[in-house]
Symmetry: C2
Subunit: 352 residues, 2 copies
């Protein structure tokens, strides 16, 4: 099917750009001696996870067990789940997942989480790798000090079914110094307790080209870089030409000279990142503002001469790629010859 035959709204992924994005950051990591562990939350597709691994990634990152289960089904064998796994049902699923993988890792930031993991992995043939999550300024999960990290690492080490593997952090943009301070000091403290820190994992797309400045880190997790989006262009991380994702929409109304309405609303573009002023970048019309969204309508504001006719199709680069992938049952992969291939977003909506 060619792009003009796709029913709108639709999420279109330019495969050549995505492939180029994968290769470019893998080359950067290779150059700087960083292990790359892409976060599949951006694409949620086995197709692209395999492409990332084939390019040289050492494994993948997932945020929830459900995503990891889909990737295991597709043959991925090294997965890090960057989440505190809690509760009987999830612990049971995690243990089952372990048996299907060569390497499964999780993150923890409390004794409660460690105790749960430790009890379910008691007697496991293959230990679960555990990283201590450290808060380096993002204000989400994570221990607050290197001393707290050491206490939890010691707690992990006491469980025979758990393997203390190292540290993990998800810093805010501009967090390089905080990461270096935390991640240089903690392994020294751990060493004094006889604990070895194999993995020091950081991540984040906005500062991806500065990852080498996080000198205490040996693994980098990154999601958005495969598609890129308006937030990364506005941050200066990439150019519009590096954006692989766009939302194809139809102009359904031109009610006044200053306003056009499209058939893509928050059910595709999402309400994410409103601080960017508007909900996307209209390709070819940099001055047009995606002013507001309701669920199935997007309202564009432009100057007093409508540039569109009803029925015309336009493309919008969304504010945030990852959340857009999660809205649709399928995306359309666009090949260089203009053909598109509809692919189910296999790990979409898997919140548990």
């Amino acid at each position: 099917m060619m792009t003009n035959e796709i029913e709108t709204p639709a999420v279109v992924i330019d495969e050549a750009i995505a492939s180029q994005n994968i290769k470019a950051f893998q080359a950067y990591c290779n150059k700087h001696g960083l292990n790359l562990r892409p976060h599949i939350k951006t694409h949620k597709l086995p197709h692209f996870a395999k492409m990332q691994l084939a390019a040289g990634a050492q494994g993948i990152t997932c945020q929830k067990i459900g995503e990891a289960e889909v990737m295991a089904d597709a043959g991925v064998r090294d997965i890090l789940i960057t989440f505190n796994i809690l509760g009987e049902a999830k612990l049971k699923r995690l243990r089952t997942l372990s048996d299907r993988l060569e390497r499964l890792s999780v993150t923890v930031d409390s004794k409660v989480t460690i105790d749960g993991l430790g009890s379910v992995y008691d007697g496991a043939a293959r230990p679960l790798n555990v990283l201590i999550e450290c808060d380096t300024g993002a204000g989400r999960c994570g221990v607050q000090t290197p001393q707290q990290a050491v206490e939890l690492a010691k707690c992990v080490a006491r469980y025979p079914g758990l393997n203390f593997d190292g540290l993990m952090t998800y810093p805010p943009a501009g967090g390089t110094k905080a990461v270096n301070d935390f991640m240089a000091q903690t392994p020294e403290l751990l060493k004094a307790d006889g604990l070895d820190c194999s993995t020091v994992s950081s991540g984040g797309s906005p500062d991806m080209w500065l990852a080498h400045e996080q000198t205490a880190v040996n693994e980098y997790r990154i999601g958005t870089y495969i598609y890129n989006d308006r937030s990364l262009v506005e941050h200066g991380t990439c150019a519009w030409s590096n954006c692989a994702i766009s939302v194809l929409a139809t102009v359904v109304s031109t009610p006044t000279p200053g306003r056009s309405v499209i058939d893509a609303g928050s059910k595709v573009l999402t309400s994410d990142l409103p601080h960017l002023d508007g909900y996307g970048h209209v390709v070819g019309y940099p001055d047009i503002r995606v002013a507001s969204l309701s669920e199935e309508h997007g309202v564009l504001h432009h100057n007093e001469s409508t540039p569109f006719t009803v029925g015309e199709r336009i493309s919008i680069i969304p504010n945030h790629a990852c959340v857009v992938s999660n809205m649709v049952n399928a995306v359309h992969l666009l090949a260089e010859n203009g053909e598109t291939n509809e692919v189910t977003v296999a790990a979409r909506g898997l919140v548990t």
Copy 2:
């Protein structure tokens, strides 16, 4: 399954409250002589559409053909799609859908849309009902003046396969006077051209209890009222006890005394309606702020003594019910005896 056995995060719907909400507004419409046409976008479930029809609704409203197709599969026979249907593929689907229903209606606000409908319904056994969408202040779709509405109505009437049925508007909150002005004047003008306005349809949940003040209207469309949400409580439309929808979440981290983190982020609660200050109402903790969301984490800010323990479950009433239903593959219907029943959200994610 009982609520405490459900894996989190999960969307839970209290059936008794939803049923009460359906009955209460149906009684209001009956009292005021208004036809009720609920919008299924809030629940996206045949189960509740049938409950709304059984209570006395004359038909349902959908926003996209895909939603209407699911409801037709479930046996619904009177559907209004409040959208400009454009493009060959969609027009074909619409015509096919017509043959399965007793009554199908759509809205239009341009000659381009009418011409497309007119050509595909040429020779149809059963005409398509067409309403002219009028902009009464919402600034989305719709003709701007009664005169424009008349011009389009005349255009509809020229197509043998189309039946001009009346007017439709979706006013902003507080829009009663604008609706009355537009909807009183236009039928008079139409009459002068020999056109009869059978249906005058308005809608919106925030002002639902003032619908009878829209004296020129004979049909009311409403979605959120079945579940209600934080936005309607804050608007004064309903009480917390009328909210049938909640997101069940687990506290996964208490990293500092002032902060707790839950396993529900924007992939369940969505980023919608940030002007409400925070992303939901924590049941039983009115002073706790759902301060920020990333995709799989929700960050709660509270005073300097953590009220939660890691692993504890809490419930959150979301800002906007309709968008939350769209995030999950299934919701859990909670019966009065505490049992829950997992139901697939059949019309979820149908954007075309």
